[in-house]
């Protein structure tokens, strides 16, 4: 199953809306898009996962790698997700303490 990826610009933020399941089959496409954004000099990125049905550690690894890249440029990576089963993956791994997470885009003014 393909991952839906859609980038839009909201002021100083690049918002990547993601839809579908993020796993070993789809994570490479997500990684490629995020690496390209950082390569274009977009260091303030929001990954909107409101339409993500599933994420496993492969997907988490892509987000960790992106956080590392934007921080190396003084940037930020925020995550948006209101899907409880996806949010729970961040909670049980403890990654909710590493990422800045929001329930909606409105919370960071990039909606």
């Amino acid at each position: 199953m393909d991952l839906q990826l859609d980038v839009s610009e909201h002021g100083e933020w690049s918002v990547l809306r993601v839809g579908g399941e993020i796993d070993v089959a789809t994570a490479p496409g997500l990684r490629q898009r995020l690496v390209a954004l950082v390569g274009e000099g977009r260091y303030r990125i929001v990954v909107d996962m409101s339409q993500v049905d599933f994420i496993d550690s492969t997907g988490l690894g892509v987000l960790i790698g992106t956080l590392k890249r934007v921080r190396s440029h003084g940037g930020e990576l925020h995550l948006v997700c209101d899907v409880d089963r996806v949010v729970r993956v961040f909670e049980i791994t403890g990654l909710d303490t590493i990422f800045t997470m929001h329930r909606s885009l409105d919370a960071i003014g990039a909606g």
Binding site: D23, D56, S57, G94
Partner: protein, 150 residues
């Protein structure tokens, strides 16, 4: 009490096989009223992690051989076995995961799979076989309350 249900599935060691493995365990859990939606998500995640490890290992060593899954549904229990024939792996190294509160955690994009399996399954056994690895996970209906931090 009804007899156990056993499903055996051989899947090619390709990335798209992992979603099939998740679909099966998700369907089995949804069919059992003692497994709620949160616990069903746990099973899908743990199976995804085990299948990803097996698939990646098998694809490197011999992609003509499948990864072998066995699902056994008993009363209020689902056991999933994932087996590859990729020659085994360094379990000790694979289990090491940096403290998530440590800033150095950002240096590692992987390493969460096996800790997640051990957290989410009631029992998880990693068996080194002569020609590969078998992960056997047993799940009851209760979700864990712990986290991986630390």
């Amino acid at each position: 009490m009804a007899d156990d249900v056993l499903i055996e599935l051989d899947l090619p060691p390709r990335p798209e096989s992992v979603s099939v493995a998740r679909l099966v365990v998700g369907s089995l859990a949804l069919a059992d009223p003692s497994f709620d939606e949160e616990r069903t998500s746990d099973l899908r995640l743990a199976v995804s992690e085990a299948c990803t490890n097996a698939m990646l290992a098998q694809a490197v060593v011999d992609d003509s051989r499948p990864i072998e899954l066995r699902y056994r549904v008993s009363a209020a229990s689902i056991e999933v076995s994932v087996r590859d024939r990729a020659g085994g792996f360094d379990l000790d190294a694979a289990q090491r995961v940096a403290d998530l509160t440590d800033p150095k955690r950002l240096e590692y994009e992987g390493g969460l799979g096996i800790p997640l399996i051990k957290l989410l399954a009631d029992e998880a056994e990693f068996r080194r076989l002569e020609d590969g690895t078998e992960v056997v996970m047993t799940f009851g209906p209760e979700s864990p309350t712990g986290r991986l931090v630390g």
